[in-house]
Amino acid sequence: MAEPMSAQDRLDVMDVLGRYPFCLDSPNVEGLAEVFAPDAVLEGIGGSFAGLEAIFGWAHGLIAGGRVGADPPQLVHFVGLPFIEGDAERCSARTYSVILTYDEAKQITVPLVGSYEDAFVKKDGRWRIQKRIIRGDLGRAPSRD
C-alpha cells in the first residue's frame, strides 16, 4: 500500500498545475514535458491527444491560432486552487480555470470558465499528469482568430 500524500507531494502537484498556464501563455511548449508524463493523454475541447509529441502539437495548434502565447499577451489561463486527493504515488486533482481575453472593444472578457480533471502519477520522484480532461463549464472557447 502506498504511503500517504505528504505536504511536499501536494506542493509538487500544485507546482505542476501552476506551470501549465505559463507554458501555454509564455509560450514554452517544451516546458509541458515537466507537466505531462511521456505517455500522458489530454482530452481537450478539440479532441484527444496521446503522448507528449501529440500534446506539443496540440499546444502549437493553439498558439498558431494567434491568441494563446501572443506577445503582447492576448489571452491568459488563470488557474484556481486545486482539490487534491490521493497518496504518495498517485493522486487526482480538480482545478477551475478561467480564460481571459479581449473583446472587440479591447475590454477584458471571460469567454470560458472550465475545469481540469487530472490524474497524476509520481515517477522517479517527479509528479506528472498522466491524464487531463479539460471541460468547458461556462461559456465557450474563444475563436482562434
Binding site: 505528504s6 505536504a7 511536499q8 506542493l11 500544485m14 507546482d15 498545475l17 501552476g18 506551470r19 498556464p21 505559463f22 503582447p72 499577451p73 492576448q74 489571452l75 491568459v76 488563470f78 488557474v79 484556481g80 486552487l81 486545486p82 478561467v98 481571459l100 481575453t101 479581449y102 472593444a105 479591447k106 475590454q107 477584458i108 471571460v110
Partner: protein, 150 residues
C-alpha cells in the same frame, strides 16, 4: 562555499504566504505591512518606473493608496492571485504568479487588468521577503489604458 539547502515544503508555504500577504496588505491599505514584505534594498519595477529601497517603495505605494477618489471607503480594487510557480533553494527563489485585478466604480464591476508578478525572493534571518518584484503587464483593458494615459 557551502551548497544552499533545498527549498523545503515550509519554505514554499512561506513564499506562498508572502505573495498572498502582498495582496492583502495592498487591498486593506496596510502600508507598513506592505513595505515590510520587501528586503531593505528591495526593488519594484512597474509600468510607470522603478522603486529601490523601502523608502522609495513606501512613497510610491503610499501615493497609490492616497489616490483613491473621494467617497471611496475601501479600496475599489482587489488583487486575486493564481497559483505561484516557485523555483529555487532554501536561500533564494523565484516565483511567477498571475493576478486578476477587478475594480468596482460607480456600482459597476469591471476587470481592467490581468498582470503577472515576477518575483525574486530572499530569506533574511529566517524570513522570506521580496528582493525584487516586477509587475509585468498582461491584459490591460482599453478603458484602463486611456485612464492611465491621461
Amino acid at each position: 562555499m557551502a551548497e544552499p539547502t533545498p527549498l523545503t515544503a515550509q519554505d514554499r508555504l512561506d513564499v506562498i504566504n508572502l505573495i498572498a500577504s502582498y495582496a492583502a496588505y495592498l487591498d486593506t491599505a496596510d502600508l507598513d505591512g506592505y513595505v515590510d514584505n520587501f528586503a531593505p534594498g528591495g526593488v519594484i519595477e512597474h509600468s510607470a518606473g522603478r522603486c529601490e529601497g523601502q523608502a522609495e517603495i513606501r512613497a510610491w505605494v503610499g501615493g497609490l493608496l492616497g489616490a483613491r477618489r473621494p467617497g471611496d471607503t475601501i479600496s475599489p480594487y482587489r488583487h486575486v492571485l493564481g497559483i505561484p510557480l516557485i523555483e529555487g533553494d532554501g536561500e533564494r527563489c523565484s516565483a511567477r504568479t498571475y493576478v486578476l485585478i477587478p475594480q468596482q466604480r460607480d456600482g459597476e464591476l469591471t476587470l481592467p487588468m490581468v498582470l503577472t508578478y515576477v518575483d525574486s525572493c530572499v530569506k533574511l534571518d529566517g524570513r522570506w521577503r521580496f528582493a525584487k518584484r516586477i509587475i509585468q503587464p498582461g491584459l490591460v483593458s482599453a478603458a484602463r489604458r486611456s485612464e492611465t494615459a491621461r
